[in-house]
Amino acid sequence: MFALQKRISIGANWEPFSSKVVASDVINDVAILKTDESPFGDAPQFAPMKIGNAELTAHFATATLNPDLPKPGQQALLAGYPLGQPYLIVQEGNIAALAFDLPGWPPTNKILVSTFSNHGNSGAPVFDMQGKVIGILEGEDRAQGQDQERTGISVVIPAFFVSELAKTIAP
């Protein structure tokens, strides 16, 4: 269990806020951090920029977990910041399979999603079509052998483990 104080910096010009790790799961490689004060108390106002009928503006929201395992074939969305992109990149995929003891990965349950993922996507939430988090991206599965070709199959930690981890947090 980590009991570290970590600084959380909100945006480029915002003051950093301290936070601490309140729960961690070594097997599933997940941590929950909690801020000591709300960093969104004095959120700066961004001037929206209009392009046609689209508007570039700032958003903040919290995610809700869906701890139920999804069904193969179901649609899913991976949303993260691949390759250091400063903009949220949303990719569509499908639940390819539910797996246990996937070769080359920690021996626990995984959700396999048919979408490519890149460095920077790691830790990104995977959403169902109701906008709830069904898992956390761990990485892309690679073909066995020397070349380790890309498969376009992303390995996802089920949200169930995050939900169980949150239950362990002391009040």
Partner: protein, 111 residues
């Protein structure tokens, strides 16, 4: 004989009309379901913006390097987390010291 022939021809025409009608209603269903799916994707994408954070680490030369992503957790299901903001990230990120978690709001396109 002729009347029977005309009758058979009429039946065939009716069947063809029914088949065409069924085909068009199927086509209509296909197009409306595809349309509904597209709308759902846009709506979900709108809903999730602002929830995802970027995890950045400061390098010794004072620059930032990106490590991954994470998300703000809604605390309504866990009273222990209530009040302040919680963020979920991969544990391996914490081996970097100190990780700066660059969070939303980012500027995202919305229509």
């Amino acid at each position: 004989m002729g009347a029977r022939g005309r009758g058979a021809k009429g039946m065939r025409r009716k069947s063809s009309l029914i088949i065409v009608a069924v085909f068009f209603s199927w086509l209509e269903g296909m197009s409306s379901s595809a349309h509904a799916e597209t709308i759902d994707l846009v709506e979900v994408t709108k809903q999730i913006r602002g929830q995802v954070v970027q995890v950045v680490v400061s390098t010794p030369d004072g620059k930032n390097a990106w490590l991954g992503s994470g998300f703000w957790l809604n605390d309504k299901d866990w009273s222990q987390l209530a009040g302040m903001l919680s963020v979920v990230i991969r544990l391996e990120v914490l081996k970097y010291d100190p990780p700066l978690i660059r969070c939303s709001p980012f500027k995202n396109a919305s229509v």
